[in-house]
Symmetry: C2
Subunit: 232 residues, 2 copies
DNA sequence: GTCATCATGTAAGCCGTTACATGATTGC
DNA sequence: GCAATCATGTAACGGCTTACATGATGAC
């Protein structure tokens, strides 16, 4: 899960850990504030199994300490730009780059429908965020699977709520609000699905392409966002 | 967390494990399908520390197998109604009842503002579902804390998204939808807060009272739900 | 010179999951 | 008789959090 997120971000560009965290938080809103305690170990794991490569940017001299990871990442010692560059050359900032193996893993993770039945909101959000790397049919399946799931939940909730419902006002308000949210999620998905269907099949071939081509198709569809008031 | 949910449900009536799971899923929509692997151990924990008491309803004879848990739950063997009752006397269905100690723990858990800063959606939902057991000021604080949190997240997201935003259409749609959802959550909270403020302070005293009295107050406030279309 | 921010990491633990094992009751 | 549902539990593990430890850089 976290691995998928990291690989997805690295598909676009090289990044260091701290920056990955920031992107996840500010840009995607996924994993709001993922902790370092899970981010760095994840990066280590990815590095260990060859999915990413680190280009150390340490201020230290080559033969220096380079503690525990020394024997593992030592072979990349040649690549460091020893504080030569101008732009805010911070401390031992390890910049990671995705490898071919990493790209392969990313694709596998992204399109894996192993957990087909039960996909939580975060998992779906993550996949959608990187949907541009999916082939069109897989993208459509992702959306439809999620839609079916939400629709089913809604049916079940309605069935359970239909009978009188002796909930107190707080619980009821919660349930109703949740239901409304789910309904909105579903109609949002319907818009996405419609846009996806409207896209000519031949535009994006099986090989994932980073963006641009698809932009027009999606954007000429009306998302009709009205600026709903929030001020207080 | 799970403990809080269980105690909250047991405040209302005696229940057995399987039924607790169902309520959580169908009624509150929280913990959608909590697994038995966490439910039953939680019940055991609660029983071990005296927060709940079990009234065994087993169909087995007293001296029977009663495998691994024998030494732990054996002392309640006296209380079983040996398939005497009429209504669908199922198998060894352990019905749990909350104790005074359990009620004390429930109050503590429910009103604990220890994790004040970061409260996730589920934790908030759970507390709101049992908000009727909170004294009015605590209830208001709960709502306002949540509101503040969402508002802040929104501000941060806007700040991060403001600059151009070179997100691809999928990621952008996701971010926009999330933002809208958060806005709706906030205005929902605003309605709840307003209703809470409108309630005369003397209606509900410090001691939590199960419902009824408060019903009228909350319901005369307009929640204005329009039946938003979902059919397909 | 000291404080906030950037930056990386380890250790312990919580809270939940899946998978497995068992068995009673009900309906066909 | 057999399957579906109800019902309870254990074992192993997963994924993320908090708390801790460290240190560089830049701003005031």
């Amino acid at each position: 899960m976290l691995e998928l997120a990291i690989l997805g971000l690295l598909e676009d560009q090289e990044l260091h850990g701290y920056e990955i965290r920031k992107r996840l938080r500010d840009e995607l809103g996924l994993f709001s504030n993922i902790s370092f305690g899970s981010l760095y170990p994840a990066l280590s794991r990815l590095e260990r199994c060859g999915a990413v490569a680190a280009i150390a940017e340490t201020g230290e001299v080559a033969g220096g300490p380079v503690p525990m990871t020394g024997s593992l990442s030592g072979e990349r010692a040649a690549l460091r730009s020893r504080r030569a560059s101008p732009a805010r050359g911070r401390r031992g900032r390890k910049v990671y780059r995705i490898t071919d193996e990493g790209r392969r893993q990313f694709t596998t993770l992204l399109s894996s429908e192993s957990n087909a039945g039960s996909e939580d909101a975060r998992s779906f959000g993550l996949r959608l965020a990187f949907a541009r790397y999916l082939p069109p049919q897989a993208r459509l399946r992702l959306l439809e699977r999620r839609r079916a799931q939400l629709a089913q939940r809604l049916t079940e909730t309605r069935a359970a709520t239909a009978d009188g419902s002796r909930l107190d006002p707080y619980a009821r308000s919660l349930v109703e609000h949740t239901t409304e949210s789910t309904e909105r999620d579903i109609s949002w998905l319907d818009r996405l699905i419609a846009a996806e269907r409207a896209r000519p099949a031949h535009v994006a071939p099986a090989t994932p392409v980073p963006g641009r081509t698809e932009q027009t198709e999606l954007q000429q569809t009306e998302w009709h966002r009205e600026p709903n008031g929030l001020q207080r």
